[in-house]
Subunit: 309 residues, 2 copies
């Protein structure tokens, strides 16, 4: 099998793209995919500083690596979720990558933000699933950190498989409000929200893994322990099956949605948020969902402390 | 396990409906599901004669059985597709059912409509896939037969699994024109088209099979030999997997689509058709797709005959 670009011996075959690449050409191909997504979706300008949310996994580190190589002014943001050893190892990988590349990394640790604010403690105290608690903590912390550091853009490592699985879930339930907001660029609906962008939304998990391997990026291989059995994984499985039957299914599914179907749902937009009475961040009620979670944790801790007295 | 309706011993469990039924109550449940679909979607009126397209399979015979029991004035329509033994056995089952129930059955045989018009011959002569050729032949023949016999409504046995698989395929490719027309009732866009209705669109293949078994309906068990390996079967497989993970997935997927998402696509409507210059039936070009197929078959046969002289 020969490289589609230079006819050298190919190392990787991409059936969805009907292509094969040698190592140097693959890296170029991958960079171009990301560059094109940024340009076509007008994610950010050449000179706009970008805060990259890095988890220590392959997707977010590959994203940071590509953006840095493409010449963007990037900073990393690592959010310590307090998920035991998994979080400790993730942080190590993020720090090691930043050090090796000489890139600035900001660290926010939930357990330092307040007592009992690690994801497992919040989930237990508030009887949410860990993934639900994590989602709320992350959304708030990302916006707050970007705001504090003066970034207008936050980039996340969501890849094609993430987006396809999410889209399948939204479509199976016809969640029109979620479909209305599933876009590779989310413009802020409030001055305290930042623009959220997903430059990897058209590259598959496999493609990102190959890129990370070729570039010698050292990342946490294990999945988050809370993700085991998550419905998203069933959707990914099912999409993998469809992809084998018809290569390019995932890409077409997400790309055509964004290009032609999403506008049909986009009318269903939320009203603009107000401000949270507690933290001042945007909120749809009086208090934002982050502060409601935090309040529940505090109540629980106060009761437990009273019980011990 | 007890019957949800009468507390007798249940014979069948329906996880999607969180219910279980004994035999008599299941038949009532099934009838009501069909009755409700007809009423809610305003498929046809109490006294409107209905032509039921019967293939000899469980879905169409179960449909005919329910409609007759509910007191509708039904006639069957069997279309002989010329698919060897499969068609012969299908016709036998349809005829036996009609005789047993004392219901009128009309028979149209493609090979008697014209030489070389059986599905396998048409597919071979026109280089279509058998399913593509079959679709065109069926659509035309159903409309033509209903028109000739003076029916305004044609009912087909498409079940929830058929509709969910079709919807998944349409969504994976975001075929907006197909999504715009995927409805349980299709009103005619031309006076020579009939209203097409799918009263079984919310009952699963399993539910229909159980009904046919309980009612002692004798049907062709084998699938059409051309269906083997069809993409629809992959979609059905994938949906079965999702249904096991979360019972009710298929029902919600189709029902919510029809209820809330379909209108977003329905704007994309075809222009009204003109009339086919050959057969006078509605056509989007000068000649309808059926007559184009027939013409190709005739050309091929004429050439072959000339070669033999």
């Amino acid at each position: 099998m020969k490289c589609t670009r230079c006819r050298a011996k190919a190392e990787v075959q991409l059936r969805a793209h009907n292509s094969a690449f040698c190592r140097p050409c693959y890296v170029v191909f991958f960079q171009r995919q990301v560059e094109r997504a940024i340009a076509r979706q007008r994610m950010f300008a050449r000179d706009e500083p970008v805060l990259v949310a890095v988890s220590g996994g392959k997707d977010s580190l590959a994203l940071w690596d590509v953006l840095a190589d493409l010449g963007y002014a990037t900073s990393g943001l690592y959010l310590g979720l307090g998920i035991g050893d998994y979080s400790a190892r993730s942080r190590d990988k993020a720090e090691a990558f930043a050090a090796r590349r000489g890139l600035p990394l900001r660290i926010v640790d939930l357990s330092e933000v307040g007592p009992g604010l690690g994801v497992p403690e919040v989930a237990a105290a508030t009887r949410r699933t860990p993934c639900a608690a994590c989602g709320t903590m992350k959304r708030h912390s990302f916006d707050a950190a970007a705001l504090e550091a003066g970034f207008a853009v936050l980039a996340t490592g969501h890849n094609l498989d993430d987006e396809a699985a999410r889209l399948l879930g939204n479509v199976l339930h016809w969640q029109k409000d979620h479909l209305a907001r599933q876009r590779p660029v989310l413009h802020p609906t409030h001055p305290k929200f930042v623009r959220k962008v997903k430059p990897l939304y058209l590259v598959s998990e496999y493609e990102t893994a190959v890129y990370a391997f070729m570039r010698g990026i050292d990342y946490v291989v294990e999945e988050c322990p809370n993700a085991v059995g998550a419905t998203q994984l069933v959707y990914k499985d099912v999409l993998a099956r469809l992809e084998v039957e018809s290569p390019g299914t995932k890409l077409r599914f997400v790309q055509e949605f964004v290009r032609t179907a999403q506008p049909a749902f986009a009318e269903v937009e939320h009203q603009a948020p107000g401000e949270c009475a507690v933290c001042g961040m945007p909120a749809y009620g009086e208090v934002c969902s982050y502060c409601r979670l935090v309040r529940e944790v505090e109540t629980k801790r106060a009761r437990a402390a009273a019980g011990r007295m």
